[in-house]
């Protein structure tokens, strides 16, 4: 019962694993570049949850600091990625990644 009443490390890790699974699923299956980007964000946030969870149960501030860095990095990454997506859309009139293959042959 304790498992249900007390939120422990395992809960965090389980949420994080689900987030990672969803993120990966989004990255691997979606064709829309923006959705893929969202998947990437999910993965990053799954990592953040892990950082924070380990930080809380382990003591110290290293995990928190790392998570802050990841958030900043994610913001920057999102900005750059969205800029790329906008440019891709301008060039190809689509954001479907399976169609953006002009360098293949």
């Amino acid at each position: 019962m304790e498992q249900l009443t007390t939120i422990g490390l395992n809960h965090y890790l389980t949420v994080s694993a689900f987030l990672l699974g969803f993120g990966l699923f989004a990255v691997m299956t979606r064709k829309n570049a923006i959705v893929i980007l969202m998947g990437v964000e999910l993965i990053l946030n799954a990592a953040n949850i892990n950082f924070l969870a380990f930080s809380k149960f382990n003591g110290g501030m290293q995990g928190v600091m790392f998570a802050l860095f990841v958030i900043v990095l994610a913001a920057a990454e999102a900005a750059i990625a969205l800029a790329i997506v906008i440019n891709v859309f301008k060039t190809f009139k689509t954001v479907d990644v399976s169609n953006i293959d002009s360098m293949k042959e």
Binding site: L24, V27, M28, T29, I36, V97, K104
Partner: protein
């Protein structure tokens, strides 16, 4: 350089100039340039006449001799041969001066005559060019002072005779005749070249005077058989050029050439070359070689005379008479009657040229009818030709008061003397054949004169199926081929053809040569041309002593002494040299001296016998053809085998055809078989092997080497094709792969952890 040498070189080169001008420019010159040929020959004759005047008339010295030479090619010391230096030079002695004048005169007259005879021919200009090179070649032979240059000009004579005999080369018979002449001459020339090489191998020089000096000094190291062999081999050249048996077959066929060319060949240029050459090498001929020469000459004289009796073609009779007379000359040289033989060469040149030009005039007038059976009665129509032709005929038959009489009798006297000295027996065959041939000569020339000039014209008797049948002698405006006859019927020829006849006939009379019509020895010719002393005296001859002792007692002693010293000994050679220096009729060599003595003794005997023979021959001709006591046709029928034997020229052509020609055809077939089957087989075998090997090699290349290369390419290609499927360019795929890899690693890690 002596001025005569310079002049003689000019004389030599003038006809060559004529040849060069005419062969290149005859079509651009007016009258096809015949005046160039005649003019140049006229100049050459004028110069040679001056040389003749200076040498013969002014100097009048039997030992006259000027010579000049230069080194033409110096090959240095050729390995295996020795020093090889080829010189060119000119020698002028009495013989050269006489020959120069004679050759140029006859050539000039032939040129002049040809302007009439060949008029209208389509190759008129080229004809005169050929005459030029022919004269040039002959003058080269006359002037040469060494064997090498004489051989060069010898071949040139062969070439120019080839060109001229086949002048009407559209006719098969002319083309065949020219080939026959060339090949027959080639056989002789090979022998001549071998003879030259024998002498060269001993003395390393080609010059006549050097060779004779060396021989006289006894420097010939091989046995005398080699010397005899070299003499006979050199004589082979003469056999070819001067149409002696067995190479006489080309001369009658050479009648296919234009008639003036026949005159040139028969009188001045070609056949004279052979006799002249033997005269030049006379001193090195050993007695054995001379015997061979004498017998060849006698046989040729007799054989040709018997053939001439039955020939019907006017030119063929003359051709065989030439062969016969050349036989006389060669006989004369063989028996040692050197000056007589050369005398006959010159006299014969004039009257035979006259006869040929006369027959040319007849043929011209008869519209190219050559068969005597269809002639006759020309005496009235052609008085000039008749007179000159008859005079030349009398000279040929050897009737007194003519030049031919003197020279022929000198030869026959020499033959008699020779036979006496050699001790009779078989050697008497030579004068007997000579006298018998003299009778036959008179007979066949009488027949010719009668058939051609006397009686009634028999033109209409000619069988109608002949293609000439429409050209009757009395047809008006008879045009034949490309010739243009404007006159009616048979007519006398124009002046440019008549003048040579008159000049030549004049030169056939005795007073040109000697004041005494019975003795040529009293004339200038026999004085100027004296028998040179041999350099291979009987001392060096390996003669059995028995034969030597059988000789006349008067000189038997000397001969025995000579025979005793069977090897070459210095005193004899020195004596021979002394004799040569002195010149004249005193010979150091006993054999020569003896023959000269006996010849002198036989002089009147020869005259009597030959006069009887000539009269006999002419009477027979009269009996048979004029009085018709004996019918020639019936006689021919009665002795048919003999008649056919003569008519078919002793079947020599057939014999050669069956032996040499058939033989060489068979030989060439065998060789051809060998070539196609063995040689070609080898070559083809090699080719097939190489081909097979190449195919095997190609297979290896194709399947192994190329296979390796292609396999490399194929494997890279396949690998690439597989791998390119993986590289899709889609990040999502990579992510999947990444996850699979991570999962795989995870599984691996866990598995490892568990076990």
């Amino acid at each position: 350089m002596h001025s005569l040498i310079q002049l003689s070189i000019v004389v030599l080169l003038l006809p060559l100039l004529s040849f060069v001008i005419l062969i290149f420019f005859n079509r651009r010159l007016p009258r096809r340039g015949d005046f160039v040929g005649v003019g140049i020959l006229g100049t050459a004759f004028a110069i040679s006449a001056y040389i003749f005047w200076t040498v013969i008339v002014q100097t009048y010295d039997p030992a006259f001799r000027v010579a000049w030479n230069f080194t033409w090619i110096d090959l240095g010391n050729v390995p295996g041969v020795g020093p090889l230096q080829i010189k060119m030079g000119v020698v002028i002695d009495n013989l050269t001066a006489i020959m120069l004048a004679m050759v140029n005169l006859i050539s000039l007259l032939v040129h002049l005559y040809s302007t009439g005879y060949m008029a209208g021919d389509k190759n008129y200009g080229r004809y005169f060019a050929y005459l030029g090179i022919f004269t040039f070649s002959m003058l080269g032979i006359v002037l040469s002072d060494n064997l090498f240059s004489i051989y060069i000009f010898w071949e040139l004579v062969g070439l120019s005779s080839y060109l001229l005999i086949g002048f009407f080369f559209e006719k098969d018979s002319a083309a065949n005749a020219q080939k026959k002449a060339f090949l027959a001459n080639r056989v002789g020339d090979i022998g001549m070249w071998l003879g030259i090489l024998i002498l060269y191998s001993q003395f390393h020089t080609f010059g006549f005077s050097e060779i004779y000096a060396n021989l006289a000094a006894g420097k010939f190291t091989l046995s005398n058989a080699w010397l005899t062999a070299s003499g006979i081999l050199l004589f082979m050249g003469c056999v070819g050029k001067s149409a002696q048996f067995p190479l006489h077959i080309w001369l009658p066929d050479a009648m296919e050439g234009p008639t003036p060319v026949s005159a040139l060949i028969h009188a001045a240029t070609m056949v004279a070359a052979g006799v002249y050459f033997v005269a030049r090498i006379f001193v090195l001929l050993t007695p054995d070689a001379l015997h061979v020469i004498a017998f060849v000459g006698a046989f040729t004289a007799f054989m040709a005379a018997t053939i001439a009796i039955t020939q019907n073609d006017i030119k063929r009779v003359l051709a065989y008479s030439t062969v016969s007379q050349l036989g006389y000359m060669v006989l004369g040289l063989g028996v040692g009657a050197y000056s007589a033989a050369l005398f006959h060469l010159v006299t014969h040149a004039f009257f035979k040229a006259c006869l040929f030009l006369g027959s040319g005039a007849i043929i011209h007038a008869m519209h190219h009818e050559q068969d005597m059976r269809w002639m006759g009665g020309l005496r009235k129509h052609m008085p000039w030709t008749f007179a000159t032709f008859t005079l030349a005929t009398l000279a040929l038959a050897g009737l007194p008061l003519t030049s031919g009489f003197m020279s022929k009798d000198a030869i026959l006297a020499g033959a008699l003397g020779f036979a006496t000295v050699e001790g009779g027996g078989i050697y008497y065959l030579i004068p007997v054949l000579g006298f018998f041939s003299a009778m036959l000569t008179a007979f066949y020339m009488g027949r010719q004169i009668w058939l051609v000039f006397f009686g009634e014209s028999r033109t209409h008797l000619k069988p109608a199926d002949d293609h000439h049948a429409d050209h009757h002698a009395h047809d008006s405006h008879a045009a034949h081929g490309d010739e243009h006859h404007e006159e009616h019927g048979v007519h006398e020829v124009s002046w440019n053809m008549r003048a040579p006849l008159v000049i030549l006939a004049t030169l056939s009379v005795f007073f040109v040569y000697s004041p005494d019509p019975l003795d040529g020895a009293k004339g200038w010719f026999m004085h100027m041309i004296q028998t040179p002393a041999t350099v291979v005296g009987s001392a060096s001859l390996e003669k059995p002593a028995a034969l030597a002792t059988a000789q006349q007692p008067l000189l038997a002693e000397a001969a025995v002494v000579g025979a005793g010293h069977a090897e070459k000994d210095v005193p004899e050679s020195a004596a021979a040299e002394k004799g040569e220096e002195k010149g004249g009729h005193t010979f150091a060599d006993p054999r020569q001296a003896e023959i000269a003595h006996a010849t002198h003794g036989a002089h009147y005997t020869a005259i009597y016998i030959s006069s009887i023979m000539v009269v006999l021959g002419i009477s027979m001709a009269l009996i048979v053809f004029v009085f018709k006591i004996i019918d020639p046709d019936k006689t021919a029928e009665a002795i048919r085998p003999l008649y056919l034997f003569s008519l078919n020229k002793w079947y020599w052509d057939e014999i050669y055809d069956a032996t040499f020609i058939r033989g060489s055809v068979i030989l060439s077939k065998v060789l051809s078989w060998f070539d196609t089957n063995i040689v070609d087989g080898l070559v083809n075998g090699v080719a097939v092997t190489v081909r097979k090997f190449a195919f095997a090699n190609a297979g290896f290349d194709k399947y192994v080497v190329d296979g390796m290369v292609n396999f490399t390419a194929f494997s890279v290609n396949t690998t690439g094709a597989v791998l390119r499927k993986l590289q899709t360019g889609k990040v999502q795929t990579y992510v999947v792969m990444l996850i699979i890899a991570v999962f795989g690693y995870f599984v691996y890690y866990v598995t490892k952890l568990v076990y």
